[in-house]
């Protein structure tokens, strides 16, 4: 798996390398243009256009079935696993449409990682949970070092450093979810998609993960879907409100919560708060 000597055939790596050398890149981490997603005939996401700021936390809120998770999963092409799902429009990452026929979904997911609703570590050791993704992506550095630094980023190192060879499934739910975040960032992605990452956790574990996000956004762009509006208010810089597949309002979090422009946003927010 150590075939990284030759120049990369991954278009994203080429663009990212160019930008690191001082080339001008996109001002946004991710740009979505006219995104439409259907399950069979049912439109789940309708004509959504939005852009995500680099190294910020963006929250997507909305009632159940509003299409927020579906939209999130479209950003790294996870919806392709659902046979009836069809997607149109553009998702631009470094100016390249991830749905371009020349782009492999594997390349996309390597740069745009994902954390799921339920903690789902691999049924392997803690060490292997971190190392596996790095190894299959051709990581050539010191693996133990990577495991340690990654676990430190999610504030899990001190809790698990003595049981790295033990099963990840022996950890508590909150620890498992932090391990899943570590697993996602071990391959050094640019964007981290989080699909209701705390909905299966207790309040203390939730608080730990929320406080992590502040640190993580120094390195990664985070897009988090949540049904918990307080959480969106606490952790995010910008918030998008989805309703029945439409992007109703997208604004800095403070503005959206305290000064919503759209009546539907206001109803939703006040309904929940009131």
């Amino acid at each position: 798996m150590k075939k990284n000597q030759k120049p990369s055939d991954n278009p994203f790596e080429v663009v990212i390398a160019r930008e690191e050398e001082g080339g001008k890149g996109s001002p946004y981490a991710l740009e979505v243009r006219n995104l439409e997603i259907r399950y069979g005939d049912f439109p789940a996401v309708k004509d959504v256009t939005m852009a995500f700021d680099k190294r910020q936390v963006t929250a997507i809120i909305g009632p159940s079935g509003c299409g927020k998770s579906t939209a999130l999963r479209a950003f790294n092409r996870m919806n392709e696993l659902i046979p009836s799902c069809s997607t149109s429009g553009e998702v631009l990452f470094h100016g390249i449409n991830v749905y371009d026929p020349g782009v492999d979904a594997v390349q996309v997911r390597r740069w745009i990682g994902m954390v799921f609703q339920k903690p789902n570590p691999f049924p392997k050791t803690i060490h292997e949970n971190i190392a596996w993704g790095a190894r299959i992506n051709g990581y050539t550095g010191d693996m133990d070092e990577l495991v340690e630094s990654t676990l430190q980023q999610v504030a899990l190192w001190d809790e698990v450093k003595d049981k790295l060879k033990q099963s990840a499934l022996a950890l508590s739910g909150g620890q498992q979810q932090r391990l899943c975040i570590a697993r996602a960032i071990a391959v050094k992605p640019e964007i981290l998609l989080m699909d209701e990452p705390t909905s299966a956790l207790d309040p203390i574990s939730t608080a730990k993960i929320e406080s992590l996000l502040d640190d993580l956004k120094k390195r990664y762009t985070i897009i988090i879907v949540t049904h918990n509006m307080q959480q969106a208010g606490r952790v995010s810089d910008k918030t998008a409100f989805f309703l029945q597949g439409d992007l109703v309002e997208y604004a800095p979090t403070k503005d959206l919560f305290f000064n919503p422009k759209d009546e539907r946003t206001e109803n939703y927010i006040s309904g929940r708060f009131g």
Binding site: N120, F122, G133, I136, L169, C180, V187
Partner: protein, 422 residues
């Protein structure tokens, strides 16, 4: 029956009728128990009838009394090789001696082997009467009376029909000398070929169908037909094997293509290889279906989390899906292989040898298997062949059980490993 409560009010009443519901449940429970007991009963009956036939008294009448063969008062057993050779030379015609020497020079044989030759050639015991285990245990007086009246010079011997000689001897037309070595080896080689071909192909097919194939009409058609194939009678697979492996692929299955045929002049496709491949065809659909179900039982979130770190589909399948489902796949495969071991009909069609005194030496040898051998023996009228058939059934059952045991052990180890990492 309880009185409907609250019926005096206008509110609709509940009639719990708990007694009746409990009684109904109890009745079903008894039915389930009876079904289980029936199964146990039939299984026990089967085992008993096999064991019953495998052990028991036999009345033997010797052609030559061993006592007359002793030299200078030394009994046969203590004569040593040289003495035994002398006995052989005295009692056998030169023609027979020469043909025995042609098989293997007599001088090279150990005294035990010589003793066996003397027993077969000179003493030549003949089975006059056989008794099953229950008769032997509970009717010994009657057997003894029978012995005295009808066979005054006969000997009553308690015989285990399953014995070392039976396991190691080749096939013979005399039940007393017949063994299952050839059939046992044939079964082992056949089943090995079956496992080696059906297991990888079956899993590969299942992976394609579960993980890669799109849900379109063609693939649905294929899926349904694999289910149908699993239900096709085994004799039809025999016809397929005959047409495909024995006839069409004859140069390949007979070994002439590689110059590996045992005897080029009589080489044909009726070989161990054809038999193994035919059985592989037979159990392939079962293995595929089982593996498919095992793969389907792997939670989708495992695949997603693997893909989400940038794994390819193959990496996901190889590192996560297969390890998570392997214990189930193994269980299904063992069940299928057990079925293949016991198959008779397709092998009859493919051309199992009915009487084979040589062992299979390569995959291009003519073959026979335990079930074929059992079938042959049970079809004969003599009682002693029924006894050795029963003994062969015992061997087949033990072979099957040990195969299952190995698989269960393997599976438990995989499970334990999985649990450890849980």
């Amino acid at each position: 029956m309880t009185e409907p409560r609250g019926s005096t009010d206008s509110i609709p009443a509940f009639l719990p009728r708990l007694d009746e519901r409990t009684r109904k449940g109890e009745r079903w429970k008894v039915i389930f128990l009876i079904s289980t007991l029936l199964g146990v009963f039939f299984l026990a009956t089967l085992l008993w009838s096999v064991v019953n036939d495998s052990f028991g008294y036999v009345i033997l009448v010797n052609e030559t009394d061993p006592a007359t063969l002793s030299r200078d008062g030394v009994p046969l057993e203590n004569l040593g090789s040289r003495g035994l050779l002398a006995v052989l030379e005295e009692n056998l015609p030169g023609r027979r001696l020469r043909s025995l020497a042609e098989e293997r020079p007599l001088e090279e044989r150990s005294s035990e082997e010589l003793l066996a030759v003397i027993e077969d050639e000179i003493i030549n015991p003949e089975i006059m009467e056989t008794y099953d285990l229950s008769e032997s245990l509970f009717g010994k007086a009657r057997i003894l009376r029978h012995l005295e009246e009808d066979y005054p010079d006969g000997a009553l011997v308690f015989r285990s029909w399953i014995n070392r000689r039976f396991l190691t001897a080749a096939q013979s037309s005399v039940a007393l000398h017949a063994g299952i070595r050839g059939a046992f080896l044939g079964t082992l080689m056949t089943i090995l070929i079956t496992i080696l071909t059906a297991f990888p192909v079956g899993i590969a097919g299942a992976i394609w169908l579960e993980e890669y194939a799109k849900d379109n009409r063609l693939n649905r058609f294929i899926r349904i037909n694999i289910y149908n194939l699993a239900g096709v009678p085994s004799i039809i697979y025999g016809m397929l094997g005959l047409a495909l492996f024995v006839r069409a692929a004859e140069p390949l299955t007979s070994g002439t293509l590689f110059g590996a045929a045992a005897d080029p002049t009589t080489a044909n496709g009726r070989t161990v290889l054809s038999a193994g491949l035919t059985l592989a065809l037979l159990i392939l659909p079962v293995i595929i279906i089982n593996a498919q179900e095992a793969l389907r039982a792997v939670p989708g979130i495992l695949r997603q989390s693997s893909l989400a770190v940038g794994a390819t589909k193959w990496q996901t399948v190889w590192h996560h899906v297969l390890p998570a489902s392997f214990d189930r796949i193994l269980t299904g495969t063992v069940l299928a292989v057990s079925r293949a071991i016991g198959e008779t009909a397709p092998l009859v069609v493919v051309g199992a040898s009915t009487f084979l005194s040589q062992d299979p030496t390569s995959i291009f040898s003519k073959f026979t298997t335990l079930p074929i051998q059992i079938y042959q023996w049970t079809a004969r009228p003599q009682e002693e062949f029924r006894r050795i058939a029963a003994a062969a059934i015992l061997v087949l059952l033990i072979l099957m059980l040990s195969l299952n045991a190995v698989a269960v052990l393997l599976r438990n180890r995989i499970r334990a490993k999985k649990r450890q990492s849980r």
